[in-house]
């Protein structure tokens, strides 16, 4: 009994240490956004501001159409994630629970598409979207992303873990495969759906180079690309850049807190199996 308490204490101490490592940079960032530029860039550095100021925030609000950029990011990342969660569930389900010829080969090919860095396919993709006439449109921005190998892999892992009996019982009842998926499997995968939705939303929300490359209009700028204007060549506006970095994190943090109940607890209910 005593050994358990010692190891428990160790656990708590280590967790607290990691908590500190995670929280400290954020705390420093938060506090620094209220500093004057000259208090951020000085030696010796101080944690607390000498004078509190909102100048950095007002600079961000004045110079960036923040609402517009957030709306664009919501359109881009939101639609991508909605479509992707749906299509990846459908495909992931098939790879996990249906039998058809060449299943493994096709799945491995899908997996292999994850292996090429985006930087290298970016030019061919740009040309392709242009040939299709959808460059500089939201359709062109969203379409290539509405399914992802990662998502199919993720959903496949999830569906593999669901009990086989459910499927078989439904088949005996004469239900079609689409019916089984839509009426039995899809409701069960809600937590995985939400989890992947958040994964997908996060990566697209934070993507800088893809939306910058595929759109050429300030009216279609997303948030990370908009914030890039505070980090210029030779000139650095440190205060606004920090405030901008913090603002860009907020929407996702808020959404994450709100969806947490489904997110962490959710996937734990029905589980994940390879």
């Amino acid at each position: 009994m005593k050994r358990i308490t010692v190891s428990k204490t160790m656990q708590v101490i280590l967790c607290l240490l990691i908590l500190f490592l995670i929280v400290f940079p954020f705390a420093w960032l938060l506090v620094s956004t209220f500093k004057l530029q000259k208090d951020i860039i000085k030696w010796p550095p101080t944690f607390w501001p000498k004078h509190w100021t909102f100048k950095n925030y007002s600079a961000v609000f004045e110079r960036i159409p923040l609402a517009k950029y957030i709306l664009n990011t919501v359109i881009f990342a939101g639609f991508v994630s909605l479509f992707s969660s749906f299509f990846d569930s459908v495909a992931g389900y098939a790879f996990a629970r249906l039998d058809f010829k060449g299943k493994n080969v096709i799945f491995n090919i899908v997996l292999l598409t994850m292996l090429v860095p985006f930087q290298i396919v970016m030019i061919p993709l740009y040309i392709e979207l242009n040939l299709m006439g959808i460059l500089n449109t939201f359709v062109g921005l969203i379409l290539p992303r509405i399914t992802s190998a990662y998502g199919i892999f993720f959903m496949r892992s999830f569906f593999t873990g669901l009990p086989k009996e459910l499927q078989e019982a439904a088949r005996i009842d004469g239900m079609g495969e689409f019916g089984i998926f839509a009426k039995i499997m899809l409701p069960l995968c809600k937590p995985a759906f939400i989890t992947f939705f958040i994964f997908c939303l996060t990566s697209n929300w934070n993507d800088l180079i893809y939306p910058l490359m595929m759109t050429s209009s300030t009216a279609m700028r997303t948030l990370p690309a908009g914030l890039a204007i505070f980090v210029g060549e030779g000139v650095r506006e440190t205060g606004p850049a920090l405030a901008g970095a913090l603002i860009s994190m907020l929407p996702l943090l808020i959404l994450y807190c709100a969806a947490q109940k489904y997110f962490v607890e959710g996937i734990a209910v029905s589980g994940m199996k390879g």
Binding site: W43, P45, D88, F100, L115, I123, I146, A245
Partner: protein, 302 residues
């Protein structure tokens, strides 16, 4: 006519074929927007195309020959491998241990899990701005705190000895939360009866971890290991926003070098693509081998 159509439909909805319908939309998108550009870049790798896309000459395998003689390619591969060997296992172990400690939904555990996940939500642009300033040797808070103990101010990111470890630290800091969350879900799914049975046999928590948790978690570990392996081989962002590959190319990774060759003067997209093909095959072999081994193990258990 109608009969033919309905029999066609019937065939399509047949139990053994309906799978194709399920994967059709995804496969179509992947074919058009991933595989086509991928094949295009494979072909570009055989030419001397630059990003102006004007005068491609077929050069055969000479790009590949060139890359074998290019010392920076070997250096970049070595750096990439050391990055992969450091981040993937460390991150997995940290995530695994924390997931095992924190999977029960108590107040403290939930709080820890949420905070550990927070860095995953941030963009590398934001993380880069934050850590560059924190680590800067003329105004940064971290060198300042270190100097209070050592009495001198050390440069961190520009020191060959520290640059790679710092990059490894930042990427683990940024992404162990995601692995942990997936593993928490996996652990929660292990039937409680298994633990109860072994507790009756007198097994302690460490023993339970190795004999129950770990084997039952293999499918989930399979997923996280493969995806983080793929991600680590393609590491770019964290290097791009911190050291940019320096000092002395000691943090230059493969994708970093590919990007440099393709997108700075003289913009050798052909050469860059040929190196991307090489990287592709290296990852493909490793990932498929890992997948085979892991999935065979999983099959043995179940």
């Amino acid at each position: 006519m109608i009969a033919a159509k309905s029999s066609f439909l019937k065939k399509a909805f047949d139990k053994d074929r309906v799978g194709y319908l399920f994967i059709l939309p995804s496969c179509l998108i992947i074919l058009v927007f991933s595989i086509l550009p991928l094949l295009a870049s494979f072909i570009i790798g055989l030419t001397d195309l630059d990003i102006f896309l004007a005068t491609p000459n077929f050069v055969g395998l000479s790009n590949f020959q060139r890359s074998f003689a290019d010392a920076r390619v070997w250096n970049a591969f070595a750096n990439t491998f050391s990055y992969v060997l450091l981040t993937v296992p460390i991150q997995l172990i940290i995530a695994l241990v924390l997931a095992y400690w924190l999977y029960r939904p108590t107040w403290f555990n939930k709080m820890c899990r949420s905070v550990f996940y927070a860095p995953v939500l941030c963009s590398f642009t934001a993380i880069g701005i934050m850590f560059n300033l924190l680590l800067n040797s003329t105004v940064g808070y971290i060198p300042y705190v270190i100097s209070l103990f050592t009495g001198r101010v050390d440069a961190l990111l520009s020191d060959v000895r520290y640059a790679m470890p710092i990059i490894v630290f930042i990427s683990i800091w940024k992404s162990f939360g995601k692995t942990m969350i997936i593993l928490v879900a996996g652990i929660s799914d292990i039937p409680a009866t298994l633990y109860e049975a072994s507790a009756i046999d007198g097994a302690n928590r460490t023993r339970q971890f190795f004999h129950i948790t770990l084997p039952n978690l293999l499918p989930t570990i399979n997923f996280t290991l493969l995806t983080s392996l793929i991600g680590a081989f393609q590491v770019f962002d964290v290097v791009y926003v911190t050291t940019g590959g320096g000092p002395l190319n000691s943090t230059e990774t493969m994708v970093q070098y590919i990007y440099y060759r393709g997108f700075s003067m003289p913009y050798e997209l052909g050469y860059a693509s040929s190196m991307a093909v090489e990287l592709f095959f290296v990852i493909a072999v490793l990932v498929l081998a890992f997948k085979c081994i892991l999935e065979r193990k999983i099959k043995n258990i179940y």
